[in-house]
């Protein structure tokens, strides 16, 4: 098993290197030479050519492209992601302070998704073809088909503007820190993100439970007199959740994509909002820092999924 995981980790590192080459290549494609941008054409005089050449040498832009790549990669690996063109702050610091709010929102909404999807999927599978099944599929299809940002705007319209029950933006009211206040800020982003994530998950739980319901051990358990509820909760659910756990780990990157949208709608001070602000301001160092951070997160989620898959299911044999 160790050999398997080491191999998977090595593949991930290889993929990360490929991605970093891709990001670097994109970065080089970006319009505008950084030095040219420092010195607008109208400010150029006779000595400008010399200055530009000197500045390019100073920044290493005159070196071969692969030397530039390794310099950039070396800096990135040692945590030096450059400085934001907008605020002048270190990209590492900027990303660092945004991770907390995003992880908080994502973690809780993932929990909510699971709390919706497992009972709903189980119910739909056990009552397959009956009213409860159709009701569950209407709910999950609704979650899959409605754009989450539209639900967010609708939520703001109803609960913030018409009813005045919930705040529409941010994590807390400035200058007023209380548990109730931060909870009221959390409710709408959490519920919408959790609901959006539950759609696909409900379908997985349902089909996974249906697949297990036909297993031999179910018949055995029934034959020895285990009650129907007992069979489902003690035997079927435990086995059915094995593939679902992997799916959950694999869905983490997608959840972050959902968080980007919801953070924008609710002005939640997380990674997504930072990324969109960086996009709007064409703040290249922040965009690239976000891309690298996100790529690492994706590959780590994939590794976690592999690891869970092997840990949870003793039947899986590893090559």
């Amino acid at each position: 098993m160790a050999a398997y995981l080491v191999r998977r980790a090595l593949i991930s590192v290889l993929v990360l290197v490929l991605i970093s080459i891709g990001i670097f290549w994109l970065f080089r494609l970006a319009p505008g030479d950084p030095v040219e941008m420092m010195l607008p054409p109208q400010n150029r005089g006779p000595g400008s050519e010399v200055f530009i050449a000197a500045k390019r040498a100073e920044l290493g832009l005159d070196k071969p492209i692969w030397v530039q790549y390794f310099t950039w990669l070396g800096n990135a690996v040692s945590g030096d992601l450059g400085f934001s063109m907008d605020s002048g702050r270190s990209v590492g610091d900027l990303l660092g302070e945004r991770v907390g709010p995003t992880v908080y929102l994502m973690g809780l909404s993932l929990l909510l998704s699971v709390l919706i999807a497992v009972p709903l999927g189980l119910l739909a599978a056990v009552r397959k073809g009956k009213l409860a099944d159709y009701a569950a599929s209407v709910v999950s299809l609704g979650a899959v088909c409605t754009p989450p940002f539209f639900l967010g705007i609708l939520g703001i319209y109803i609960f913030s503007l018409k009813l005045g029950l919930l705040p529409s933006a941010g994590m807390s009211t400035p200058g007023e820190y209380s548990v109730g206040d931060s909870l009221s800020h959390l409710v709408m982003p959490l519920v919408i993100l959790g609901f959006a994530g539950s759609g696909a998950l409900t379908r997985y739980v349902r089909s996974s439970v249906i697949a297990e319901l036909h297993s031999d051990y179910v018949r055995t358990a029934e034959a020895k007199g285990v009650s129907a509820t007992g069979v489902v909760t003690k035997h079927v659910l435990r086995n059915a959740l094995i593939p679902v756990i992997t799916i959950i780990a694999l869905s983490l990157p997608g959840l972050l994509a959902g968080a980007v949208v919801i953070e924008t709608v609710f002005a939640w001070p997380g990674m997504g909002q930072l990324a969109i602000a960086a996009f709007n301001g064409r703040d290249y160092p922040v965009i690239i820092g976000f891309a690298l951070f996100f790529s690492i997160m994706v590959l780590v989620s994939n590794l976690i999924a592999d690891l869970l898959y092997t840990l949870v299911d003793p039947r899986v044999s590893l090559r």
Binding site: L26, C145, F150, L256, A257, F279
Partner: protein, 301 residues
């Protein structure tokens, strides 16, 4: 549309199981029994007709600014009111539908095209090619298009073409896996082995044996990919990463609704495009489910 798909299904299974009714007619019957799928087809046709014939349904130009008609509530003249620049929202909604549907269709075609080719090659050749393609599929699948587009659009600038390509390139694994699965089982069949024994090349095998066999399932995957494409277009354009104003799309019509005054004072600006996306995507999904039941009767989910 349905008939030609059903006809495709007829070709692929005609020799497999002789029946009193032709398989194509049976598939059509199964599809027609699916009430939600029929409803989906009707709604979808309605959406397509209204967007295609938009110039006949409204006399307003969706991009024409009229500062004397700013922020009008819905009325007889402006069915869904006007936006902050005095543009007619109903006209924008119809023309936006064209863009959103086209993005959905083209990104789905691209995704399914890449996925079918790579999946078929992986399935036929097997070995390291198969491992490589499936590993790549895992990687592509784990990167959400939205995040990829933040990076691409952030560096290269947003455009509709970039968006369609990004959606296609990052959603191909869905079709790829389906096609690979069918191809793997096909490879064990005698007629394929016979063709291989006669020296058939990979290309010939893919065109003559794999593609006809996977057609039904690919159509289902493609339909669902259209739904994904429309949803992604909405999210991307909403964030400013996709279709750029003044060209309207269902996603970017909601961009203005990030301001509280717009949300509260002018619901006619943001409710119609949001509902349009939800209804269209729901219909496409229903049609996809109906097609799955019709074309792939083995898998009754």
């Amino acid at each position: 549309m349905t008939e030609s798909m059903a006809a495709g299904a007829a070709e692929l299974s005609a020799e497999a199981r002789p029946a009193l009714r032709s398989p194509g007619k049976m598939a059509l019957r199964r599809f027609l029994r699916h009430k939600l799928a029929i409803a989906g087809v009707v709604v979808l046709l309605l959406v397509i007709v209204t967007t295609v014939f938009a110039p006949l349904l409204t006399s307003f130009d969706p991009t024409r600014v009229d500062l004397s008609q700013v922020r009008q509530p819905p009325s007889g003249e402006h069915l869904l009111g006007t936006d902050g620049s005095g543009r007619d929202v109903f006209a924008r909604l119809l023309y936006a539908g064209r863009v959103s549907l086209l993005v959905g269709v083209f990104s789905a075609l691209l995704a399914v095209g890449i996925g079918t080719i790579l999946g078929a090659i992986a399935g036929i050749l097997g070995g390291w090619v198969d491992s490589l393609v499936m590993r790549a599929a895992d990687v592509f699948l784990s990167f959400p298009v939205l995040v990829v587009m933040i990076v691409i659009a952030g560096i290269l600038g947003p455009s509709v073409t970039t968006m369609v390509i990004a959606i296609g390139v990052f959603t191909w694994p869905g079709a790829g896996r389906v096609v690979r699965g069918v191809t793997l089982s096909l490879r064990e069949r005698e007629f394929v082995q016979a063709a291989q024994a006669f020296g058939a090349r990979t290309r010939w095998l893919v065109v003559h044996h794999v593609l006809p066999a996977v057609l039904g399932q690919v159509v289902v995957v493609a339909t669902l990919a259209v739904a994904t494409g429309i949803l992604l277009e909405a999210s991307l354009s909403f964030l400013g990463l996709g279709v750029q104003p003044p060209q309207p799309s269902w996603g970017n019509m909601l961009t203005d609704a990030q301001r509280l005054t717009v949300i509260s004072q002018m619901p006619w600006l943001w409710i119609p495009p949001g509902v349009a996306v939800a209804i269209t995507v729901l219909s496409v999904n229903f049609v996809g489910d109906g097609l799955r039941d019709a074309l792939d009767p083995r898998e009754t989910s």
